[in-house]
């Protein structure tokens, strides 16, 4: 896919220049210097020949139809150039030129025009405002960057061209950072990270996909494509802008809990995409995936000639919830046979400071053969007896025979570098710090988990969408966006959620009558579209045991509501079955994220949800497994399992409600916020009951 960009048989460079210092010169020079072997057509009306290539005034004049055109001309000439590409039949265009959406209102308009032209001619566009694209296997470097990165199996895309220049600079000095693709995304007017992930899914030259992005325009598509592609190869993403969020106005609990970062975290998890939050972590992890076999499991063995770094590695592994491998007794016995007395044969295996390469090698062989070891970290500090190069050779040779990831941690600089070079020649990544190696192992474990995670098992409940449609229409008709309690109840019932029996009483006498029907004790709650947080205005009275209680409560609640919100429309009071409070209060909510759509929340209810924000998220639609995982992801998850002799809460009921809410908010995209808070969940088998539900529609 997207072969026109990466494997073009003929390329036109529109704006190719004869003047060094111009971007059009740099791009052409890079294409030539990167060794591009097929036809190249510089387009420049003022030149006859550039770099020995015949130049043309327009793509229209080129004697064949190029697969790819690269546009490096001032923005005002871009629309016409693109139109000519279309007329010529060119289907892949990289627009390097800047001056579009990134440069303000007029730029936005220009970009819109460009996209219209592209659509008209069925042209795919990378850019505008990009560094360009590189495929090291074709090979072609159609960028104005200062060089071509080494070949390797990392396919990299970046929304920041400047960051790419730094990465290019690193890769030129690195032994194990090589790229298959190196693409600048720019304004993503057409081709986005989703297109590239899809295009690279089956590319045999790319073993790992790396992306620096600042936003995901089509979140649902990202999740879908990410899930498919991540089955085939790891996708590592550094998403910046974590703190932009700021000032969205929200009125529900869920809204205040769910920032855009939570949506990204949930979506990346659902997509099987590994999210990293530091640049060095991204590269440290990429080097692991690029050079070593995948990790199956999470049990790491450490071999070290220094205790301290071994402990630091252990600390980090445990912090990242990796396991220290427990080796077979036989392995340990064999290690003890040849290790000195002061050594440690248990993991982390300390071969001592005076270990030469033979001792390292013997230990590594035994450890690699142990069935309880999934991965190996070999830590080498440069001590007096240490044989850096020989030890690196031993690690390297082992890695060629063993199908488990092996990392070197050759510490130090002057002496360690030599080891690093040897390791790189075997495809073993070296890390300067044990913590970095541990982080890379954890990313490999995360990928293993993501890859083995089954596709979501979507559940469809038989619901009455017609009722909901009518309720929302009625709300709209009154010019409201906030759905009242009685209305919400209809919605909930239509989706099979259990609620306490209740009736809306408009007078105190009616309230008494309904209470007699429902049976004592009852609860009275203010019913007014203007009052969202009922308890805040004293709008709830519980445990009312007889007619006079009900009458008094009605009058008091209505009086308070009028005082609190003088203009409020007050329907009266809901008379409600007093439900058993011996369950656990949880919150199920939804907030519509601008990128990813419906973001469903689960957490403990009550005041604690606001204070502790102990909640977890999924983008809907999600499957049964997601709903089950959500219950275990909150910090207080043990509460649901039963603590201090309490029986466990009804998990199946919670899962079902999460799935039903997921279905509801998917069925009705007009729902922008929703809270079920609290949902009272009883002991296993006794179900759950929705005590309060709020819905807000979009304007």
């Amino acid at each position: 896919m997207l072969e026109g960009f990466f494997k073009p048989k003929a390329v036109a460079v529109i704006g190719a220049s004869t003047q060094p210092g111009k971007l059009g010169y740099a791009v052409l020079a890079n294409i030539i210097e990167s060794g591009y072997k097929a036809n190249l057509y510089p387009i420049n009306p003022k030149a006859n020949e550039i770099y020995g290539y015949k130049a043309y005034a327009s793509v229209m004049d080129v004697p064949e139809v190029p697969d790819l055109a690269v546009i490096v001309i001032p923005y005002n000439y871009v629309p016409n150039a693109l139109r000519e590409c279309g007329e010529k039949g060119i289907k892949s265009v990289v627009i390097i030129s800047a001056g579009f959406r990134e440069s303000g209102v007029e730029g936005v308009e220009r970009e819109r025009e460009v996209i219209e032209i592209a659509k008209k001619y069925d042209i795919r566009v990378i850019g505008p405002n990009v560094l360009g694209i590189i495929d090291t296997f074709t090979p072609i470097n159609a960028t104005f960057a200062a060089g071509t990165p080494p070949q390797g199996n990392i396919a990299f895309m970046s929304q920041s061209g400047a960051l790419q220049t730094a990465i290019l600079d690193w890769s030129l000095a690195s032994k194990d950072l090589g790229f298959s693709k190196f693409v600048s995304l720019g304004n993503k007017a057409d081709i986005s990270e989703v297109d590239l992930m899809a295009a690279w899914a089956d590319d045999p030259e790319s073993h790992v996909i790396l992306a620096y992005i600042e936003g995901v325009p089509d979140g649902q598509e990202f999740i879908k494509v990410g899930r498919e592609v991540s089955r085939k190869k790891p996708i590592l993403v550094l998403k910046s802008g974590a703190t932009e969020s700021g000032s969205r106005a929200v009125s529900s609990h869920t809204g205040s809990l769910a920032g855009s970062e939570q949506a990204y975290d949930a979506a990346f998890y659902q997509a099987g995409v590994l999210r990293l939050d530091k640049l060095d972590d991204m590269f440290n992890c990429a080097r692991a995936f690029a050079n070593q076999p995948l990790l199956e499991g999470n049990r790491v063995a450490i071999v070290t000639n220094a205790g301290g770094p071994g402990i630091l590695a252990t600390d980090t592994l445990e912090r990242l919830k990796m396991e220290l491998a427990r080796m077979e007794r036989e392995t340990i016995q064999k290690l003890e046979e040849f290790l000195p007395d002061a050594a440690s044969a248990a993991n982390p295996v300390d071969v001592l400071g005076d270990a030469r390469s033979d001792r390292f090698s013997a230990a590594l062989e035994l450890i690699a053969a142990d069935p309880n070891v999934d991965a190996i970290m070999c830590i080498v500090t440069p001590q007096a007896m240490t044989e850096i190069i020989e030890t690196a050779n031993a690690v390297g040779k082992l890695s060629q025979r063993v199908d488990k990831p092996i990392f070197g941690v050759f510490m130090g600089e002057e002496r360690a570098k030599a080891g690093e070079d040897v390791l790189a020649s075997y495809g073993v990544p070296n890390y300067s710090f044990p913590e970095h190696a541990a982080t890379a192992f954890a990313a490999m474990r995360d990928y293993n988990v993501a890859r083995e995670r089954p596709d979501p098992e979507y559940v469809h409940f038989d619901v009455d969408t017609e009722v909901v449609r009518e309720v929302f229409a009625a709300v709209r008709e009154e010019g409201r966006v906030s759905v009242g309690e009685a209305e919400s109840r209809k919605v909930a019932e239509a989706y099979g959620l259990r609620l306490p029996k209740n009736k809306l009483a408009s007078t105190a006498e009616e309230a008494v009558e309904f209470a007699n029907d429902i049976g004592y004790p009852v609860v009275l709650k203010i019913a007014s579209p203007a009052i969202l947080h009922k308890t805040d205005v004293g709008g709830v009275k519980v445990n009312l045991n007889g007619a006079s209680d009900v009458r008094d409560a009605f009058d008091l609640i209505v009086y308070r509501a009028q005082r609190y919100v003088p203009d409020a429309r007050i329907w009266g009071c809901l008379v409600q079955e007093m439900v058993s409070m011996d369950g656990i209060e949880v919150l199920v909510g939804m907030n519509r994220d601008p990128q990813f759509g419906p973001l469903v929340t689960f957490g403990l209810g009550g005041i604690l949800v606001e204070v502790l924000k102990d909640v977890t998220f999924r983008v809907a639609p999600f499957g049964r497994q997601d709903a089950e995982e959500m219950l275990d992801e909150i910090r207080a998850h043990e509460m649901l399992r039963g603590v201090r002799g309490r029986p466990p809460a009804d998990r199946e009921a919670m899962v079902e409600i999460l799935l039903k809410v997921g279905q509801l908010v998917t069925d009705f995209p007009e729902i922008v916020e929703m809270d079920i808070n609290p949902l009272m969940v009883y002991d296993s088998g006794r179900g759950a009951i929705t005590l309060d539900m709020r819905l807000v529609l979009h304007d």
Copy 2:
């Protein structure tokens, strides 16, 4: 202090050897090669001369009394050599030899012997089992390491000699990692990290103290000395072994919450010591302190020629709770005057990818002059127009005129290295990644906070220690360690804690009688030394409203207790005032940490404390400010401030109880565990009441 070690006027090397490859050869060679200028005496009975220095058979034969002796001989000869040092009058000895505590039971015995000899002769010892010590200013390198690190103002100590070899190797390749002292702590048989901190506090050659340690033997002393020294210079500690903890048997809530890591975190904070948990963070931060002025405040300005890295820096700064500086309107206007339209004049200031050094320089000048800017990060990606060296010169020159910390983030390798070298010549640290620079700024902010934190204001309450002494004696007399409820009550009352009225009834009739006295409603609780978690065995009945309720409850509780713990000694039931439950339940507890002593805990009470572990810690004794901080450190701290219309809880009452508990556990070191759970805290001004208190004494 410890001048004998670091500024010796004469040194004896016991075990100096003529054979390359031997440690005794390497140490002597290092002393000579490092340029040591005063008298040097090789001690070796088999040699007449080593390296041109006259050799002696014993220190006894040396013509003067050396300040320092370095012992590098097999362990079995060490005691005698040390004795000779004592006889000779040598007061400072480094024992490099291994084979002591680190090597098992016999080694422990040998180490004990060595320490006895040292004490007898009033000798201070570094080691045994060390790499040695270096002072780059004297200069003297009395180690067997492969070289001498560059001179600088970082005083470094390490409990891992192997780690030091790696650090030495790094420093040799680094431009801004220089050391004043470089000391291996080894077994810390005598001189520990505390002695070295104290010795380096007033050392003008050392601006920052760096330590890698695996444990702190005398925790209270560490806090005391740390607090004094950290007022004078930053102390950065990497403490490994975070996950060793494991399997301490604990019976209280507090015990299960308070691991040794929590104790270290609390103690380091109280000592003003900055704890880092990664090796690269430690060096990144050390380079900042070593080269730049201290940071006053937390407002960082970013100047960058690339948007992406600017966002990454911002993300990390906000994650670390640093502030993005908000510059004066005037500054922004002046920036706008010369920056291109597409640039961003607000922080992060994006000077765009085509910025040459003059644009960087002009922007930096304005930003540095803004009074709202405390620190500057200058990010430079190597783009086509970028003038790496000139820009580095601009940053460097600015840093020499401005008393604010300035860091470079010259990204990339090949091209960026040149900038790094220029920056280093001005003492400006360069970081490869913006996240690292942000982390270093956060450490500087933490140090600023630590340094400005006042000394603890200890509070002494008038208490009755005699009562407590008697209670504990009575408990001991019965062969118990667990203090019963009635006994705990006496202790609590002696320290002025408020408790519900109660009386111990041994029969149901007695219970009714007491209930009549106390007034209904009452609570009954099982009273048995064998039952700690009363609710778990159904040993508590609340809200008993009359005589027959009390009678029934008594019988039921006792029956259940007998069934649950058949052999339990049952004293009867406590009849207790039924206190108002309209407060907030918190936990105040204590657990005795093996390193730091009494570790006092504060958190929300009830089931949530176990599930969420939302607690905070201080090592007692601590001051009023600590107690106040504790209330704000728990995640659910807003609960105490009043949420959803609730008035705030009585902070003063909680502070007082924390201080009283701190006093109690300091007064009585025999208390190993203590829980007040729950402490019911009422609204501000209404105090707090201890509902349940448990005490365990040491065996």
